[in-house]
Amino acid sequence: MKIPYRVFPDQYGSFVYSVRLRVNVALPNPGSPRTRQFEAIIDSGASRCVFHSNIGRFLGLDIESGEKEITQGIGGLADTYLHDISLYIPGGPVTIKAAFKEDLPIAALLGMNGFFEHFVITFDQQALTCELDRVFQA
């Protein structure tokens, strides 16, 4: 599938492009209800998928009870907490170990582990589209 780049305002009255995908998440137990869909940034710089803690609490997770993982971002070190969740992506859901972070400025990041590993991803800056081809491993 091809998804168009999305625009966001910048502080200069202009705009920036970002590649965002609409996803849902759920607890990994069979039959668990999914969240409403939300926008997540496709981010090759993220080692794993990171979600705002708010989304985890909505699922019923006790965020701080998860395994603590310290991450190194551009802004320095930060605490995240790991939980297994189902991530609904094109081609079908996957169960991933996701990080939850309290003060994320956005809803979620889709990173290398848990997202990129399931696709061949082509960013086309000229066409302003991102193509996702799902890879199903035997």
Binding site: V16, I41, A46, P105
Partner: protein
């Protein structure tokens, strides 16, 4: 810029900062605003809105580096 992105840009510029918001499926209207993901989800459910998309707006529209 595509017409859809122009509408989206104007909409986001008008959106409250540091909130959870829901856009209509075609991203032409803000259909809910809340303090939490759960609050926005509940507002959407109560209003019976189909296929909205939820976003978190930042404290300011500055470049993101997490």
């Amino acid at each position: 810029m595509s017409p859809e992105n122009k509408i989206r840009l104007d909409l986001l510029r008008s959106a409250p900062l540091n909130k959870w918001i829901a856009l209509s499926e075609d991203e032409s209207t803000i259909v809910a605003v809340g303090e939490t993901f759960g609050e926005v989800s509940e507002l959407i459910d109560r209003a019976g809105i189909t296929d909205p998309v939820i976003l978190k707006t930042p404290q300011a529209w500055v470049p993101i580096s997490v």
